[in-house]
Amino acid sequence: MPGLGTSFGRGGATTFQQDLQNSDCIVIMGSNMAENHPVGFQWVMEARERGAEVIHVDPRFTRTSAMATKWVGIRAGSDIAFLGGIANYLLQNDLYFEEYVKHYTNAPVIIREEFTDTEELDGLFSGWDPEQGTYDVRQWMYEGMEVHGSGGDPEAGFKATKGEQSGHGGHGGGLRYGEPPSEDPDLKHPRCVFQILKRHFQRYTPELVAETCGCSADDFVAVCEALVRNSGRERTSAFCYAVGWTQHTVGVQLIRACTIVQQLLGNIGRPGGGILALRGHASIQGSTDIPTLYNILPGYLSMPHTEAYGDFETFMKANRSPTGWWGHYDAYWVSLMKAYFGEHATDENDWLFKKLPRIDDDNSMYWTLEQMLAGNVKGYLIAGENPAVGNANGKANRLALAKLDWLVVRDLVEIESASFWYDSPEIESGELKTDQIGTEVFFMPASAHTEKDGSFTNTQRLLQWHWQATEPPQDCRSDLWFYFHLGRRIKQKLADSKDDRDDLITALRWEYPTHTQIREPSAEAVLAEISGWEVESGRFLPAYKELKPDGSTACGCWIYCGVYADGVNQAARKKPHWEQDYVAAEWAWAWPANRRLIYNRASADPDGKPWSERKQYVWWNGEKWTGLDVPDFEETKEPGYVPPDDAEAEAAIAGDHPFIMQADGRSWLYVPQGLEDGPLPTHYEPHESPFDNPLYGQRANPARQQHKNAGWDPYNPVDGEPGSELYPHVFTTYRLTEHHTAGGMTRSVPYLAELQPAMFCEVSPELAEEAGLEHGGWATIYTARSAIEARVLVTERMKPLVVQGRKTHQIGLPYHWGTRLLTQGDSANDLVHAALDPNVHIMETKAATCGIRPGRRPRGAALTEFVAELRDQAHSRREMSPRAESEESRKTAPS
């Protein structure tokens, strides 16, 4: 996650769930942890029982709020104002952890003179190019430094690397040495990060927070006070978040805002502190580490770009950071190519660099969706995902599937993405006709987790092995089986090809031992490849430190190097917790290097002594770093170590700089490069919001991605524009304990289907009264995209808020339902638009606008007409508005 990655150096959760028991205060925000991570929540309850304060800040009063010692209700999409307000409270009242901030963050670093803040440019940072709709990030750089590294060289036509790969460390910001050239240790210089930060958030006062978020100023201050009371040498506070933060057009900056608060409080790298990113799928962290993502290769290495990196040398120069652990980028890269292509990847052929496929700026899911709708995508393979229900703008997703030539769907049950051609809402509305859909569909039944070996990487970077219990029945097969045998067949069919395009297929290392009658490939053999080995001897590598850039080592994912150390499956270690301490280092294996709480050198003061006895974790014992965890630091690097001028890679990191993946060894309050939409988080309104931005003329994130001219993703008028009155309410979508995401894994289970057997909406008694909604009856909820129906749950847990002096209603919509399986209902995602965060291309499912009226929705063709009529009415009213035009003129071209 680049919000974490650019701030700290790694995109994963900084801590582990069990450590929450050591927290003195836990703020859960952007997460409904009790409902969506109930078993992890036991550690929050442990902390509460030990006297910790548990604060839930959320638009809804949920089962998490019910367990909290305090709940603060806020408007969906206003979180940056809240967090920026906390930062401001700490800075204005000198309540930050001064020693931590001075030594461990980039607060003292002086920024270039060209940098201009949003405070001066009415909501834009300097470098904004209105025509391109992007920033020239060079103006945000540290003083005395050239933009280099993954920031790319715009002069040479290079694009900045962004998203997950830059997030994973920022690749060092092009720093020549570990120490930035210009610093003010007293934090007084007007252009030092600390002062910039202070000015940036100065207007985020409790009153402004209250006005923007719809909470009371007192409640807000109470949260600030709780954090201050529970941070410092003796105490620590933790934050837990989930996609309640990430799924916004400002998702990455939202998490950045949290990192700033935790840096100022000195809570990173310390027991009971940290930021726990709560992931929603069994291996969502793993599928980013070993990505099934377009823009990265395993271990957050960059995919080559069509425009940027013509040859290997330039590519390596652009990506290898001179300092920090990204200084060994070449070793990680070459080892991956050896794992992929074996003896075919050589120094002479630049490890096959010229043959690798290139990406464009954006080949993400929603870009692909647009290409599918345009008929440019012919074939699609879906494995364990249900875009017809789970993706924003469900209708566009289903229409896109109908444009394919062929589609493969792999799942345990027949999900909506496999059945769209005969039972989707578009069949009902007449927009699709079965006998006119040319898509060839292969439904391939998949194996369950009990029918295969393999590892999941959980929310705390922990790789846990699950053993196969039974054979997969009949045609059911693991994805390992499917992709292995698909690749094997393709290799076989192309074995004699002389075509250039088949060179990588020919070179591909694709030999895995198989077992049983069905020839299931060995998952352990794949894990061993991921972990890495010495090419000559076959010796399994213990750690990424041993990786070489000369082709003598092979490793499928450098951050996972060591998970098969000594030829032992470390992820399968299952030593019971009662036989070890709470860190449980011998249960499974965590990346990196089995460290459970990362940046843990920060749990000691600059001299290496624990900040307090109560919070000791890792410390310098005079000879080496030691403690409860594997030190996330070179074991024998003294606290007083000062790098020589010519030091490279990790040797350039000083002994009192705990953030070893950053080129300067510090956490970044201010991110000089690696993000698309600013070095600091700024409050912007959601793409669709009933309100204007109270802080700036710039209403929403200027760099957000939109599809406004494409036709398939129409938007509601916003913020008092004529027409917006048709969509006056805020809605937010979410999960329930009883179901899982798009429902394929739970709507198919009788015991779960009965627990939440119908799509419903949650509304306040006030809204019910206003809109004429009857508890237990039906409501129709609509946006410019679609309309859905839901049973009405009127509850005091939904509260109208007063924002900018206006009463606003929020509507809660769980998103688990679709047209099939044991419980059926309309999909909330049909309402959601696909405007995206510019860094990671994620949709804004958590805050948008809608209208609501009593009764069931129109059926058949009348549904499309109903939606279109309202939309046309809204848009024609809006087009009359001069304000809309001025907003348009500042916006980016559609991406």
Binding site: M45, D218, L755, F760, T823
Partner: protein
């Protein structure tokens, strides 16, 4: 035996002492609602372990409770109560909203009316002091159903396709072909015999459901109540903890955060056969069992 004279020692479950050497310490549930997150893992764990049929899909609109009540096909039920009341009396009052959740279950009463009235000996007191319906004995007479002061006992319908709507594939989950018998929580009698804790207690993510010897649970509950009272929790009280109450205390007792009736629990439950006098109610049952058992045995032959 003292029970024959109608003088049960306080809190000793009827029939438990008859086990002699086989008698195990009485076990039960302490359900602490102050840490219940309403996840319903207990409901599902119970069904998974005991292979209970699905109880039908009906959206109730009653907060997040779509289970409704304990029944033949639901042996754990999580109640949800939304209140405009602060969780603690010392809260600043700004939230003034709380969401109570409580996992209900068979109480395994010390003096259990269901046990008294069962004419077949299907209901019996186990060596663990719990009350179990024996599925191989129950003939579905249903006497026990109105006897239970908590409405726990219920007869299972013979499944029909109507219950599963248009999903005929669902039928296999109704594993028991013949039915009409009475079903309820067994406190996982089979698991207890194998040395495992009941499925719901094992699953419970926050240990709102605690299993153990009743004496230990009582001590734990008393300590817990004292802590919550010191912290100013609104309405914290123990329910069915007291051996002097109308059912002689329960094997499954609760820490509630409001009056029992708020949770749909009878405030002052009384063993329904009490008016018979303990000796006579027991004798009546003993005689009935004899008759039915002899007839049954002959019939089996």
């Amino acid at each position: 035996m003292s029970t024959l004279l109608g003088q049960e020692p306080t809190g000793v479950p009827d029939g438990h002492e008859a086990y002699g050497d086989e008698q195990q310490p009485r076990v039960g549930f302490f359900t602490d609602t102050s840490v219940c997150i309403g996840c319903k893992a207990c409901e599902v764990a119970c069904k998974e372990w005991n292979l209970i049929p699905q109880d039908g899909q009906a959206w109730t609109g009653h907060s997040y409770d779509n289970t409704g009540e304990l029944s033949a096909n639901t042996w754990r039920h999580v109640a949800f109560i939304e209140q405009e009341k602060p969780l603690r009396t010392n809260d600043d009052g700004t939230t003034a909203l709380r969401w109570l959740m409580e996992s209900d279950v068979c109480k395994h009463c010390t003096h259990a009316a269901c046990l008294d009235v069962c004419p077949t000996g299907a209901l019996f007191r186990t060596e663990f002091g719990t009350v179990v319906v024996q599925e191989d004995i129950c003939n579905g007479c249903g006497y026990c159903v109105p006897a239970c002061p908590f409405g726990v006992l219920d007869k299972r319908d013979i499944p029909s396709t109507a219950n599963v709507g248009h999903q005929p594939d669902l039928l296999p989950i109704f594993g028991k072909k013949e039915d009409g018998r009475v079903w309820k929580c067994t406190l996982c009698y089979d698991r207890l015999k194998g040395g495992h804790e009941p499925a719901c207690a094992q699953a419970c993510p926050t240990k709102s459901i605690q299993f153990g010897p009743l004496d230990e649970l009582h001590a734990r509950a008393d300590e817990r109540l004292a802590k919550l009272e010191a912290e100013g929790w609104n309405g914290a009280q123990l329910y069915l903890r007291d051996p002097e109450d109308g059912i002689g205390g329960a094997g499954a007792f609760f820490l509630l955060l409001d009056e029992p009736e708020v949770y749909g629990l009878p405030p002052d439950p009384v063993v329904t056969t009490k008016h018979l006098g303990s000796m006579w109610r027991n004798m009546a049952r003993a005689a009935a069992v004899l008759t039915v058992a002899i007839v049954g045995a002959c019939a089996r032959d």
